[in-house]
Symmetry: C2
DNA sequence: GAGGTTACTAAGCGCTTGCTTAGAATGGGG
DNA sequence: CCCCATTCTAAGCAAGCGCTTAGTAACCTC
């Protein structure tokens, strides 16, 4: 009974199913998507889905978790690599915006399909979300404390920054007139204004 | 055969069903809600729903349409009653924010359940959305043209203003630390910064 | 209070759902 | 080339879905 549970073959199939699920969930929502939709899009019979995943909800959880973790990593990396709060804000808003535009399908599931998660999975995801919120809030407060930001309500400013980035996933379409970089560049300037960064 | 098709009794029942549908759709999404959920919440048998409404999708459309129309009216009224672009921005951002917080259940359906609409209904809704977007964009451009706003990318600024307001419906909870007025007041100041309003 | 319209329900139809079972291909190691 | 675990499918089950039908209760008008 050799443990060959993670051979490339199985991994590739799992990945195909996940990719199909991301597309379907983003387009029609979790409840609007059937397991047959996902399996068919991945080129398999409905039953094959259950060889690789426990349930439809687990598929959502895997997508949601890796998406949240990726966002948290992105936020932490952008902030850590910056020498000061202004540079940190620039890079985190830029990267956050680019990500929410370019991977808007994944980001839509991350932000709009939370209610379909089981209680336990929801609790796990909430922790990651709190960490993301905390990073942004701490950055704004650090800038205010250092005297390089001028924001009368730092918590509201931090909420607005997060909100602007997340909502890109709702309205952005690759067929539109802006590239992810266009939006990111514009939003970086707006973010500096929001926190009252000194010129 | 007297036309008593809009007696108060029927209207009240219709309204009860609509209210139950708003709550259910906002909480679990259109596809996550069953007609039995709605009918039970309204205190009726599932069949009674179909006495007053053609289908579950029509229920969504009625909610979405009246919600969109209400938002458009709100935006137009706020702008029309103001003497200049700065005052108009203040009042429209304020009212928009208060509405998306206070009626966050209705606003969630308006903004996050569009994909469940039929093609015809979707087309009708899209027109209203375009009108709302147009009002905000025109206001920003008017302010820039009048020299009272300083925004390098007016379209991006307008998108950000709308986005900030809409996303309130996603994150706002009445149990939180802020009242709708708190958020609105904070967002008005952020909006002035975003468009570069001269002090 | 009879007549006729409106408001509602009990029951269920046909279909789809998430998921399971039983068994057929598939493919690498000895 | 055979073994046998792994990967997949055909078929289908129980439950739930949106919605309909047939008939009862409630109500207003005269």
């Amino acid at each position: 009974m050799p443990d060959t549970s993670d051979l490339p073959r199985a991994d590739a199939t799992r990945a195909r199913l996940l990719k199909a699920a991301v597309t379907a969930f983003a387009e029609k929502g979790f409840h609007g998507t059937t397991t047959r939709d996902i399996a068919t899009a991945a080129g398999m019979s409905p039953a094959a889905l259950y060889v690789h995943h426990k349930s439809k909800e687990e598929l959502l959880f895997l997508i949601s978790k890796s998406g949240h973790e990726r966002t948290l990593r992105l936020v932490r990396a952008a902030i850590a690599d910056a020498p000061d709060p202004v540079a940190a804000l620039r890079s985190v808003v830029h990267d956050f915006a680019v990500h929410h535009a370019r991977d808007n399908t994944g980001a839509r599931i991350v932000n709009y399909e939370l209610a379909a998660l089981s209680d336990e999975h929801m609790a796990e995801i909430r922790q990651i979300r709190r960490a993301i919120d905390g990073e942004i809030r701490a950055l704004v407060e650090r800038g205010v404390a250092a005297g390089v930001f001028d924001a009368p309500h730092p918590k509201i400013a931090a909420t607005a920054l997060l909100s602007l980035g997340i909502d890109i996933a709702r309205w952005y379409r690759a067929s539109g007139e802006w590239t992810p970089e266009d939006i990111a560049a514009g939003y970086v300037e707006l973010a500096l204004r929001i926190v009252g960064a000194h010129p």
